[in-house]
């Protein structure tokens, strides 16, 4: 519906324009198409249609600013969507050959045999699952407790200082976390537990859990803050303590937002690449025994990051890595949808619409 009305709006404004402007619009559109065509056929020639497009856009900007702005913003949005769509399709298409070759065993086999050309994703799915669980165990309790403190317990001045500081932590590049994890925690743990090997799923989970903390804290805090003050006042006015109010009114009312925060944090843990790649030795074998969290294996992301270079000459391995990407994509997408649904439902409940 909105697509149709956008088209209508554009064609209506096209109809209102004078002739030079219509021609300019046409030339702009044609030059854009020509640029794409040139990109595929002869990349060097892209410059010419691109220059024409820029010239037309400049003319439009000075002659008909409103219409030009509308078209350009529309173009920007449309190309974002198209590019994302193309990437998604490409991802799936590239994963098809390995699926055809391996069938269902792609998702049920733990064999990653580069020489034999047989690939199963179970090892890396296991690695991702274990690190994600550990990361959740680290970030969920700490993050939720932190959010409760910031939003309900801390005085206002502390809240105003701490919240932005925590959000700042989310901006630290993941390679830094990974590097610290490898250099500091890894050697400490090797000493502590007398581990035989460098790196382990446990350290990766720990580091990712810490990385996810700012997200969990900040989103849970938002959820707690969204609980109306009137509701908390109602509890206090009945003669309950602040802590009882937090425990029995604020947290339950915000619980869906808090779960959304945890899921969001977990999503980050799932997709996290650098920490896992830096810390793990990338052994494509299941840990022995399976629950050995100090073992060294591989995750979906670290498999892609560490193998795409060497896989360049082997189409099946490349395709298997794309399949790993598809698995990640689907799981992260599902988590994000779940978390958004939960959050929307919470807003409805608190708004009393339900």
């Amino acid at each position: 519906m909105s697509g149709a009305s956008t088209t209508q709006a554009i064609s209506r404004s096209f109809g209102e324009l004078d002739w030079p402007a219509r021609i300019a619009g046409l030339v702009g559109a044609l030059s854009l198409i020509a640029a794409f065509a040139a990109f595929i056929v002869e990349p060097g020639a892209v410059v010419f249609p691109a220059l024409v497009f820029v010239a037309v856009a400049l003319y439009g900007w000075f002659a008909h600013q409103a219409e030009t702005a509308r078209s350009l913003t529309f173009l920007a949005t449309a190309s974002t969507l198209v590019i994302l769509g193309v990437i998604t399709v490409y991802l799936f298409v590239k994963a098809v050959p390995i699926l055809r070759q391996m069938g269902a065993s792609l998702l049920t086999s733990a064999v990653w045999d580069v020489h034999g050309g047989r690939y199963g994703l179970v090892t890396m799915m296991w690695g991702t699952l274990v690190t994600t669980i550990i990361a959740t165990l680290v970030s969920a309790p700490l993050g939720v407790a932190g959010a409760v403190f910031i939003s309900e317990i801390a005085p206002k001045s502390v809240r105003e200082a701490v919240k932005p500081a925590i959000e700042l932590l989310a901006g630290i590049p993941s390679i830094v976390y990974g590097y610290i994890g490898f250099v500091v925690i890894n050697s400490y743990m090797m000493d502590l537990f007398r581990l035989p090997t460098n790196g382990s799923l446990f350290i990766v989970g720990l580091v990712i859990g810490v990385m996810a903390l700012p997200t969990v804290v900040s989103v849970s805090e938002d959820a707690l803050n969204a609980v109306p003050n009137a509701m908390k006042d109602g509890s206090v006015a009945l003669g309950s303590t602040d802590w009882q109010t937090t425990k029995s009114v604020s947290v339950p009312a915000a619980i869906s937002g808090i779960s959304a925060a945890v899921i969001l944090g977990v999503g980050r843990a799932l997709g996290e690449t650098m920490a896992a790649t830096v810390i793990l030795a990338n052994v494509t074998q299941l840990p022995e025994p399976l629950y050995d969290v100090f073992g060294n294996t591989i995750t979906l992301t670290s498999a892609i990051a560490s193998q795409y270079g060497v896989a360049a000459g082997r189409p099946t391995q490349l395709s298997a890595l794309f399949a790993a990407g598809v698995v990640l994509f689907v799981v992260v997408l599902a988590l994000s949808v779940v978390s958004q649904t939960i959050e929307r439902r919470m807003q409805q409940t608190l708004g009393g619409d339900q």
Binding site: A230, S235, V236, S248, P252, T349, Q354
Partner: protein
């Protein structure tokens, strides 16, 4: 108009708040005794040196135009203003022989004894039953938890009894008795307001502060609430804010009139206030000339 008069014939028409208009002699004890209460929000003064005694086991109505500080005054009486960062309260409120603004006052205990129903309904997003038993549970009067049951204590019967008694008290039982486990947010606005009244009753406070409890209700529910208020006054002290003059006239024993700027202009027997107000401004307000 009044501005002009004030400027030209000062002393003649400018009305000052006179002490005799605030004098209210009543028999019996006072439940709350307010002395020189000032409230500021930041730099704005919302209440100007309010003094009044609230007699126990009676209904005291607070009326006045919007924004004159009625809710602010009510919130002073159970120290809910403490929860507003910008608010600053000066003066004393004596309750049960103690100034509630003393440092060593136990706020939890105080609010247990001085309950409150807010201007807009604020039920918890829990079941109707849990809304009612919330207060008693927090005070440890009711415990139906697993641990309590394992220890041989199970108050489920008491809870049922309490829920029914309070819901009947708030004239809500007939409408909800077959869906006590439904979420309270699914009730209508008027039902939510009555649930909040029931919830406050469950704590058995000595004083009940009600901020326009009937503003969201239809005439039938309103009259139920009015009956309830009159009934409550046999056991409790009720202080009620209302915009509805007839309502104030119907249900209250004494009425305090606040006017814009946060002044208490006149306080006295309800019949006297409505039939024979001393202050010209109060008369104008009551007869609808000003407000």
């Amino acid at each position: 108009m009044s501005q002009m008069e004030t400027q030209t014939t000062t002393g003649e028409t400018e009305e000052q708040i006179r002490d005799e208009w605030l004098e209210y002699d009543f028999e019996g004890e006072s439940a709350l005794s307010v002395e020189d209460l000032d409230v500021f929000y930041g730099n704005d003064q919302a209440l100007q040196s309010i003094s009044m005694d609230v007699p126990e086991k009676s209904v005291t109505a607070l009326i006045g135009p919007s924004g004159c500080g009625k809710s602010t005054f009510l919130r002073c009486l159970n120290r809910m203003n403490d929860r507003i960062d910008a608010a600053r309260v000066e003066g004393t409120v004596e309750f049960d022989g103690e100034n509630i603004y003393d440092d060593d006052v136990n706020l939890v205990e105080l609010r247990k004894r001085i309950g409150m129903v807010f201007q807009s309904p604020n039920p918890f997003p829990k079941s109707i039953r849990e809304n009612i038993s919330y207060g008693p549970r927090k005070h440890g009067d009711i415990d139906t938890g697993l641990v309590a049951r394992l220890l041989g204590r199970d108050d489920r019967d008491e809870e049922e009894e309490l829920v029914e008694r309070c819901l009947r008290g708030a004239a809500l039982w007939d409408e909800v008795h077959d869906r006590l486990d439904d979420n309270a947010l699914g009730l209508s606005g008027g039902q939510q307001q009555r649930l909040c009244i029931a919830r406050a009753l469950a704590v058995s406070p000595d004083v009940l502060l009600m901020d326009e409890p009937a503003s969201a209700l239809d005439p039938i529910a309103t009259s139920k609430i009015e009956d309830l208020v009159e009934e409550l006054a046999e056991e409790y002290t009720v202080v009620i804010v209302t915009h509805n003059m007839q309502q104030a006239a119907r249900i209250s024993d004494q009425t305090a009139v606040f006017l814009t700027g946060g002044e208490l202009v006149e306080y006295g027997d309800t019949d006297q206030i409505f039939e024979n107000p001393q202050s010209q401004r109060v008369e104008d307000y009551i007869t609808g000339k000003f407000g």
